[in-house]
């Protein structure tokens, strides 16, 4: 019984505490760098498109709100022909970022994306791409991947030997 009264009294005392409410939008919310907000597509250090259209983000997406189509340029470098995120479905879980093998897709600390028309929440590649490396600077997938996609030749990548001379029988 006493604990009840104590509870009531303690609750009453909260009247004189500092308010926890942040009066957004007058007051801005401090967001952490790893805050999972709007999704962007980043560039590699050489300014090339990082996305290689591997479809892993789409497969990881629990609400299936990512659709893309892979295509290739003349060097065999793969990139998305279109890349669409339906933000009206997105739950900002960050699985896509986790799945991304090239650091292309990243969630950034921005949540101010409200729209009056739901259709405007469908973002295409042009809306998603940013001219920045985002949170992971310095990584270029095609420099470490085995294939030659116009970024480096076979054997010129990090940790690669020169291409095998198949006519040689030397040990």
């Amino acid at each position: 019984m006493f604990s009840h009264f104590r509870t009531i009294w303690l609750t009453f005392l909260h009247m004189f505490r500092k308010r926890a409410t942040i009066e957004y939008p007058e007051e801005k919310v401090p967001l952490h760098p790893r805050w999972r907000g709007r999704i962007v597509l980043t560039q590699d250090p050489d300014g090339g498109e990082r996305c290689v259209a591997c479809y892993l983000c789409a497969a990881a997406c629990p609400v299936d709100c990512i659709a893309l189509q892979a295509t290739e340029d003349e060097n065999g470098r793969r990139y998305p022909d279109f890349f669409r995120i339906n933000f009206s479905r997105c739950i900002y879980c960050g699985f896509c970022e986790e799945a991304c093998p090239t650091y292309a897709i990243q969630l950034i600390p921005d949540f101010e994306m409200a729209e009056y028309n739901r259709q405007n929440l469908v973002f295409e590649k042009e809306d998603l791409s940013i001219k920045s490396q985002g949170k992971y600077p310095g990584y270029n997938f095609y420099k470490v991947a085995g294939m030659d996609a116009g970024v480096k030749q076979k054997g010129h990548g990090e940790n690669e030997e020169a291409p095998v001379d198949i006519h040689s029988l030397l040990p």
């Binding site: 591997c54 997406c61 709100c65 669409r84 095998v164």
Partner: protein, 905 residues
């Protein structure tokens, strides 16, 4: 059945298998690379290591390769002991030391055997910190993409390409850890089975280049079981769609038909579905605004189908049984013509009747593979039915192996050892063709002759085997010697297969083939026959024994004011242009249903878009007499593209009295077919009825990882519509549903937990390489009745003699180029031959022609110039033109063409 102990649990396994096969057949997961159910064991990759124990007291055991160890009663092995597990993990780790870090951009990713096996063994971190080996890639043509860095040296590619399929231009080069799989230099892979490399390769060295053009991961495809439409064999395929476009064709295992492989025409010839030439909207010609909507179309059709307007129907060998039956239902049986040209119809009906008689069993591809002697009479199977040629090759190799194994006791699966043992020995195979074929190189006996002479030889062989069969009068000694040689070889066989077909357009040939098979069929010996036909459903048409195109034309000449409905049939391909022109001009109304614009659709008064195999449900009967159903893969973007039978029944009901509408469910069409045509009995059982459910669930067309559902259409409208509902089949257009193993005819794709690649087919089979669980799909419509008396054909032709100034016009088929629809794939179009006219040397000399000079051939009213190609193997008096090209469309094959001395007309 021997009992083996796996991890101390007893299992009954089949004798004669190796342990890897046994484990996989039991549903156990054991990783492997170099072994392939169709290729056998070589023990190269060391991945399937297991521990084998002496007896139950042996705790240590020894490592052995499961694929190289036969099943023995009482054998004790372990898959889970630490030694073999660690060993398997190490093997993958070694393989991965050089594997490039490029799964995201690899087309194999998501359906990759190497990925699956790596996960299965538990290897997840590269400890090897030295550099990776790299290779330069090669250009291998428009079908196969090469990325050699990914190679794990399992040798499956060369074992398939060289040994299994007989290709010569892919091999292994260099040495030690530098081995290289590719061609001697960049260039197009020559074998028409090269597409299988994409499936045989356990990783992404060889990938499907056509899929690469519009790449989609396996998990993102909407897939359905389908049947290849590019020849009469009816290979089972899995067709996959994404974004409203057919994206890929992969093999759908059917133990009785295509097994693990497909030919390149079947695998890559799908682009016609996505063609710009597709008919998307109904068209009513000669009015303002020709493209019309459904209401206008139906109103128009209602008026032209009103009472009093008499319609005839022209069916099609590439339309399903359902569509042809619907046409029959619409116009009436007496007004239905099956759409085959006179001669082709005659032959098709003959083949159907012969097989229906039940005196000889028709051979499936599997049966051909098992044959111990093969005789091909006339048919160029390499080009008209490539997969049959592959089966013949297997028969030849396997019978040689079987022969060799009688002397040396070796297990059947021991591929490398058997190959050493067999060397260049071949099983008996006589290849008798018009002008030679790629199969000649494995034939023990090859002969090039004219169709009539081949038929005479056939009759002679039959007479030698069974003197009760008719003898060839005035047979030359040469003929009899040849016949004797072949007959003797066939008589030694226990399970010979005779292959012929309609490709030579010669009636006696078909009869002769039947006589041989019938004659052979005595006592222990089980002879089988296999007839190749023209189109995917020619057999389905022939079974109804309906009249052909010629009778339709006669009828229009006889009767005034007839109208015609043409079902998916370009008449200009089978008849000369002037004949078709006249025929169509005699028709009051020409209603055409077709998928792609062609010469006939241009002449249509009313043109209705119909669905391709990928957008339709239906049933087709292959050359074996196997009815197989194909299922709709996706809903086309245009709402007007519907199955032909759907349109035809809708038209039929237009003028029906209210309450008398007959629009049937597709299941019901098949039962009606069965009722009206008893020879189709069983066709309604080909696949489960549309209300079939497993645990109340449908079979999903999409894998469980299907992505983008809420974004695919979001650019059009952010509100998602309800998924398409399928009332026609037990499949659903979603990823929800039963994810276990469905009935064999309803398998939309092969997948099993941990087995994302197509190798997961192991899980769907009774035993590895055997039938699918619940039996292979398809229902054979022909029953064999051994008790029937042998009735031989007696129609023996005279020896072939060249007529002066005349040449017999015969088709030369080409894997790439002869197909009406496959030609829409850009790469196949590029491989299609340039028009030519092939003649024998003496004929060319006589006519003053040489290689490259021009021969004018009159096709219909048109004279077309063909560059001459002098051919050593062709008999005198015959000219071969490439079949199926636009230049040769409408040629009357089997007709004598007059080449007067001056004009080469």
């Amino acid at each position: 059945m021997p009992t083996i102990f796996i991890d101390n649990k007893p299992f009954e396994v089949k004798a004669g298998k190796n342990l890897l096969e046994a484990c996989l057949s039991l549903g156990l997961d054991l990783p492997y690379f170099c072994w392939h159910p169709a290729l056998g064991s070589v023990g190269a990759c060391r991945q399937c290591a297991i521990s084998m124990f002496k007896d139950e007291n042996d705790q240590k055991g020894k490592l052995t390769m499961a694929c190289m160890e036969g099943v023995k009663d009482g054998l004790r092995i372990s898959l889970t002991d630490t030694t073999s597990k660690a060993f398997r993990e190490q093997v993958v780790e070694w393989l991965m030391t050089n594997h490039p870090h490029d799964c995201p951009v690899c087309d194999e990713g998501g359906s990759c055997h190497l990925q699956d096996m790596t996960v299965m063994t538990g290897h997840d971190y590269r400890r090897f910190s030295y550099k990776k080996r790299t290779y330069k890639n090669q250009y291998l043509g428009p079908f196969i993409h090469h990325e050699m860095n990914r190679c794990i040296q399992c040798y499956r590619c060369v074992r398939f390409y060289k040994d299994y399929a007989g290709g010569k231009d892919l091999d292994v080069f260099a040495a030690h850890n530098h081995v290289y799989f590719g061609r001697e230099k960049d260039g197009v892979l020559e074998s028409p089975f090269s597409g299988n490399l994409a499936e045989v390769c356990p990783t992404g060295v060889f990938t499907d280049e056509t899929l690469r053009q519009h790449y989609t991961r396996k998990w993102d495809l909407t897939m359905a079981p389908s049947v290849c439409t590019h020849c009469s064999l009816g290979c089972n395929i899995t067709a996959g769609e994404r974004y409203g476009e057919l994206r890929s064709i992969t093999n759908r295992y059917n133990g009785d038909v295509n097994g693990y492989f497909l030919c390149d025409r079947g695998r890559f010839g799908y682009e016609f579905v996505n063609s710009e030439n597709r008919i998307a909207k109904p068209i009513i010609r000669n009015r303002v605004g020709e493209a019309v909507d459904e209401d206008t179309l139906m109103t128009h059709l209602k008026t032209i189908f009103k009472h009093g307007n008499k319609f005839i129907g022209i069916g099609s060998p590439r339309a399903s049984v359902e569509s042809n039956y619907a046409l029959m239902d619409l116009v009436g049986k007496d007004n239905y013509y099956n759409g085959l040209s006179e001669f082709e119809n005659l032959l098709a009906k003959l083949v159907a009747k012969t097989l229906q008689s039940g005196t000889v069993r028709s051979a499936s591809l599997k049966d051909v593979e098992k044959a111990d002697a093969v005789l091909i009479l006339g048919e160029d199977v390499w080009n008209t039915a490539p997969m049959l040629a592959l089966s013949v090759r297997q028969a030849v190799l396997k019978s040689a192996a079987a022969e060799a194994l009688q002397q040396t006791p070796l297990p059947q699966w021991h591929d490398a050892a058997i190959r050493e043992l067999v060397q260049e020995e071949r099983g008996y195979f006589a290849n008798i063709t018009l002008a030679g074929s790629a199969l000649d190189e494995i034939a023990n006996y090859k002969l090039h002759s004219s169709p009539d002479d081949i038929a005479r030889l056939g009759y002679a062989i039959a007479h030698i085997i069974d003197p009760g069969s008719p003898a060839v009068k005035n047979a030359s000694d040469e003929l009899l010697t040849k016949a004797k040689e072949i007959a003797d070889a066939l008589l030694k066989a226990k399970n010979p297969v005779i292959i012929s077909g309609t490709g030579c357009l010669n009636e006696p040939l078909i009869k002769a083939a039947h006589n041989i098979a019938l004659a052979l069929n005595s006592g222990e010996r089980k002879a089988e026959i296999c007839y190749v036909m023209h189109e995917s459903n020619t057999m389905g048409l022939a079974l109804t024994q309906a009249f052909g195109l010629d009778k339709a034309i006669e009828r229009t000449e006889r009767e005034e004011g007839l109208s015609v409905v043409i079902l998916e049939n370009d008449l200009y391909r089978s008849l000369p242009g002037n004949v078709v022109d006249r025929f169509l001009s005699r028709c009051k109304n020409v209603v055409v249903l077709d998928q792609l614009n062609n010469a006939t659709t241009v002449k249509a008064h009313v043109l209705i878009p119909s669905a391709t195999f990928a957008e339709a449900d239906g049933t087709m009967v292959n050359n074996e007499g196997r009815a197989q159903s194909f299922f709709q893969v996706f809903n086309p973007a245009s709402n007007y593209v519907r199955e032909a039978w759907r349109w035809l029944y809708a038209i039929k009901d237009l003028n029906a009295a209210p309450g008398n509408e007959t629009f049937p469910h597709p299941d019901e069409i098949l039962s009606r077919v069965e009722k009206d045509y008893p020879m189709f009995s069983g066709i309604s059982k080909v696949s489960p009825a549309h209300d079939f459910r497993v645990n109340g669930q449908r079979i999903p067309r999409e894998p469980r990882r299907y992505s983008g559902r809420t974004a695919i259409r979001a650019n059009i409208s952010v509100s998602e519509p309800r998924p398409f509902q399928d009332d026609d089949s037990p499949l659903s257009y979603t990823m929800e549903g039963y994810d276990g193993i469905p009935p064999s005819s309803l398998i939309p794709f092969f997948w099993s937990p941990g087995w994302n690649s197509i190798q997961s087919v192991n899980k769907y089979q009774d035993e590895v390489g055997g039938a699918l669980k619940g039996g292979d799909p398809g229902v054979r419509l022909f029953e064999v009745d051994k008790s029937k008396p042998k009735t031989y054909f007696e129609h023996i032709p005279y020896p072939f003699t060249a007529k002066p100034d005349h040449l017999l016009l015969l088709p030369q088929f080409h894997v790439f180029g002869s197909g009406e629809l496959s030609i829409y794939t850009k790469a196949i179009e590029d491989f299609a031959p340039e028009p030519y006219a092939a003649l024998s040397e003496p004929d060319a000399e006589k006519m003053g022609l040489s290689d490259g000079s021009i021969l004018n051939v009159k096709i219909g009213e048109k004279k077309i110039a063909f560059p001459v190609c002098v051919h050593k193997a062709i008999s005198n008096g015959i000219v071969l033109l490439p079949a199926g090209l636009t230049e040769t469309a409408g040629a009357i094959w089997g007709a004598w063409i007059n080449f007067s001395a001056n004009g080469h007309s």
